[in-house]
């Protein structure tokens, strides 16, 4: 089946358009604003497969993310291209358009955000633009879906007609293009002229793609000759600069003809909001206040009430209904216990935290969609620079509050490899939603009047620890070097659409529910089995069970932290699968029917100081299995992966010991 590729600058609405053109919507791994890898979906008319690529300003990549788009064009030439451009930023967007037109495949230009352009008084002469670029232009508003039908129709029509767009780069470059074209024989690229131009632009991805050493050398030689010829012609520019200036001059000329900016009005909403939200003095306090409000809302006001309702349902209605059913069916005691004490207690014990997690995800989506996220990088850059990182590292950190896995993938937008690696190693200290059930349980039991503050303290502690470690890492020789750079585009503020928010929240919640149905279910069954299996076989007393034995091995090591029980050891061990399993494990091993029962048991087993030390240990100790897997995938190194497991354990142990022992000295024990 034909492949159609979707290209565009960042923040132009590619993913919105992708969702409208295909029946699927944003899969896991795509967090609004960050298409981390190319993503495919079947077009609504089933005529082709659409590929959504990460946003790029040009085909010349600066970050890891941007290389994906270029590599895709080289390795899997698509049948046609869609280039979505932001109507209000046409001049900038057309640079990528020119590079894509040179690729030679049929192209449809989606002129997006025409509503924004109209509102600001920008007039675009679409006929002239279509005529000059010789491609169809579809005006659209991708967020509402307007124009997507016309886009589908246009795609069907245009697919068989390659475009023959060509700019004249002057004799020196044209001669070089011709020579390089003749060197680039037997390639799959539809238009050798495009590949030749990319070589002349010094595109590292294209240069790497030539596997033949001899060929690459010849091409490099030819580029150097071209540079000399350009000098002889009287241009002081290198070939790449020359090509760029020819393109930008052509685009500027086109824009003066096709754009009427005389009625343009400034973007006053963004100006007004920025005056407050990125204020010199108030910006950071406002950000902290918003974060505090988020926690207050999630834990004190809305989330807890809903969680209590769910708990009533799981441990009361559902549990007794299932018990009755099992009795009616004459299920064995084994089956009854497995289902009620194992599965319902384990999985249900985690699912009760769903409302709080959903609210947290909703707020993260809101921050991403509104355009505030980029502002946060500005507010935080000074602080991040002080520890050797970059304001952009703060985006993975915030996403990490939801889940560490996509957060680590979001680190790809950071340009420098060193800063990207350090960010990847530090994201696991961001307290993800899976750790929330543990805090909610312990803070609720021991610090009922200050639950939100204690939980927020955990998040702040995670950030503090990672900042201190960042400072240490950037002093370590293998991780130092490379000057730090920072450049970020601040998109205009947008009112997030309810549907988009609902969808992206749902996507994230679905991931949590899926985890409850797989890892946590399997974990619960496993823990229940281990807790019932002892030296004498099945049906052992809990305290003689296999789980107690294994957990007991860790108890002495954990004693200095304040929780030297086999139960704590066992739940920490199982927590490596997924942090939610810590609570599932406790539900099963304390053998309690509901939250109240668990709270009683926990109150008995921990002191307030020990519970605090336990929360800190849970926050820091090891990334979960899925996070370790993604660290391996992103760093491509087993050494860094092993490091990312071992050093947090050490850090967690040291900090928890210090907290517990100091607390005891101060008489809080």
């Amino acid at each position: 089946m034909d492949m159609i590729a979707l290209f565009g600058n960042p923040n132009t609405g590619k993913t919105s358009l992708f969702n409208k053109l295909t029946r699927t919507y944003a899969e896991v791994g795509n967090w609004s604003g960050v298409t981390v890898e190319k993503k495919t979906g079947l077009l609504r008319d089933k005529s082709a497969v659409l590929v959504d690529l990460p946003g790029t300003y040009s085909l010349l990549p600066l970050s890891l993310d941007e290389g994906i788009a270029t590599r895709y064009l080289l390795e899997e030439p698509p049948a046609a291209l869609i280039n979505i451009v932001d109507a209000s930023q046409l001049q900038r967007n057309l640079y990528l358009t020119v590079q894509l037109l040179e690729y030679g495949r049929p192209l449809v230009l989606g002129l997006n955000m025409t509503d924004v352009a109209d509102a600001t008084g920008l007039l675009v002469n679409k006929e002239l633009l279509a005529d000059q670029l010789s491609v169809p232009i579809i005006p659209m508003v991708a967020r509402t879906g307007s124009g997507s039908k016309q886009m589908l129709a246009s795609l069907r029509e245009v697919r068989r007609s390659p475009n023959s767009f060509q700019l004249d780069y002057g004799p020196a470059v044209e001669a070089a293009i011709a020579d390089i074209c003749s060197l680039l024989t037997n390639t799959s690229v539809p238009n050798p002229r495009w590949a030749a131009l990319q070589c002349l632009e010094n595109n590292p991805v294209v240069m790497e793609w030539m596997t033949n050493e001899v060929q690459r050398e010849k091409v490099t030689d030819r580029i150097q000759r071209c540079e000399k010829e350009l000098l002889r012609e009287g241009h002081s520019a290198t070939p790449d600069q020359h090509i760029r200036s020819v393109r930008t001059a052509w685009i500027a000329d086109l824009c003066t003809k096709a754009l009427d900016t005389t009625k343009l009005k400034p973007h006053s909403l963004t100006d007004k909001l920025d005056a407050l939200l990125t204020h010199r003095y108030l910006g950071i306090p406002i950000f902290l206040l918003l974060m505090y409000a988020t926690f207050k809302f999630t834990f004190d006001w809305a989330g807890t009430v809903l969680s209590d309702m769910l708990d009533g349902f799981f441990s009361g209605t559902l549990s007794s209904w299932i018990s009755e059913m099992l009795v009616q069916w004459n299920a064995s005691a084994f089956t009854q216990s497995l289902i009620v004490d194992g599965i319902v207690a384990g999985v249900g014990g985690v699912l009760v935290f769903l409302p709080q997690i959903a609210i947290l995800f909703l707020i993260i989506s809101l921050i991403e969609d509104s355009g505030y996220m980029a502002r946060v990088t500005i507010l935080m850059d000074r602080l991040m620079q002080a520890v050797g990182l970059n304001g952009k590292s703060f985006i993975p950190f915030i996403i990490g509050f939801g889940c560490n896995v996509p957060a680590i993938m979001a680190a790809r937008t950071i340009e420098q490899p060193r800063e990207r690696l350090i960010t990847t190693l530090l994201v696991p200290f961001m307290s993800c939603s899976a750790r929330l059930p543990v805090y909610a349980l312990f803070a609720g039991v021991f610090f009922p009047t200050h639950a939100a503050s204690i939980i927020m303290l955990m998040y702040v502690l995670g950030i503090t620890v990672s900042l201190i470690l960042a400072k240490i890492f950037s002093k370590v020789s293998i991780l130092s070097g490379e000057p730090s750079l920072f450049i970020v585009e601040l998109p205009p503020y947008r009112v997030p659409q309810a549907l988009t928010l609902f969808r992206s929240t749902w996507e994230k919640v679905k991931g949590f529910v899926r985890k409850a149905g797989t890892i946590i279910l399997a974990g619960s069954v496993g823990i229940w089995l281990l807790s019932n299996f002892g030296p004498q076989g099945f049906g052992a007393e809990m305290n003689d069970s296999l789980l107690a034995t294994v957990g007991g091995w860790f108890a002495p090591i954990l004693a200095p932290l304040g929780f030297g029980t086999w139960q704590a050891g066992a739940s920490l061990l199982t927590g490596f699968m997924a942090k939610e399993v810590v609570v599932s494990t406790m539900n099963i091993i304390y053998h309690v029917p509901d939250m109240q029962g668990l709270e009683m048991q926990v109150r008995h087993a921990f002191t307030p100081l020990a519970s605090f030390s336990f929360m800190v240990f849970i926050l820091l100790y090891v990334p979960c299995l899925a996070t370790v897997a993604v660290i391996r995938k992103e760093t491509l190194s087993w050494r860094w992966t092993a490091f990312s497991v071992i050093y947090p354990l050490t850090v967690a142990y040291i900090i928890a010991v210090v907290i517990y022992q100091c607390g005891r000295l101060l008489g809080w024990g």
Binding site: Y57, Q91, R92, R244, R280, L485, P492
Partner: protein, 81 residues
Amino acid sequence: MPECISLLRTPPGQPVRLQSLASLHPSLRRRLTDMGIDEGSIIRLKKISLLGGPIVIECNGQLVGLRQNQVKQLEVVPSWT
């Protein structure tokens, strides 16, 4: 010929013409030119953060955040001359 001054020394909100990007880090320069911010562009200093934090510039309706120490050498001339 009007004199070039550092962008940081211009009054916020005042349109100025970008004279030279030559002293910028190559990657940064590339990213700016990718965004259509190049020699000759009319830019505006929007905002300076505290303690030497990033600055925000505006060009063609787009807002870009950059670090002060990186843009110190951005040479501009007042566009009304």
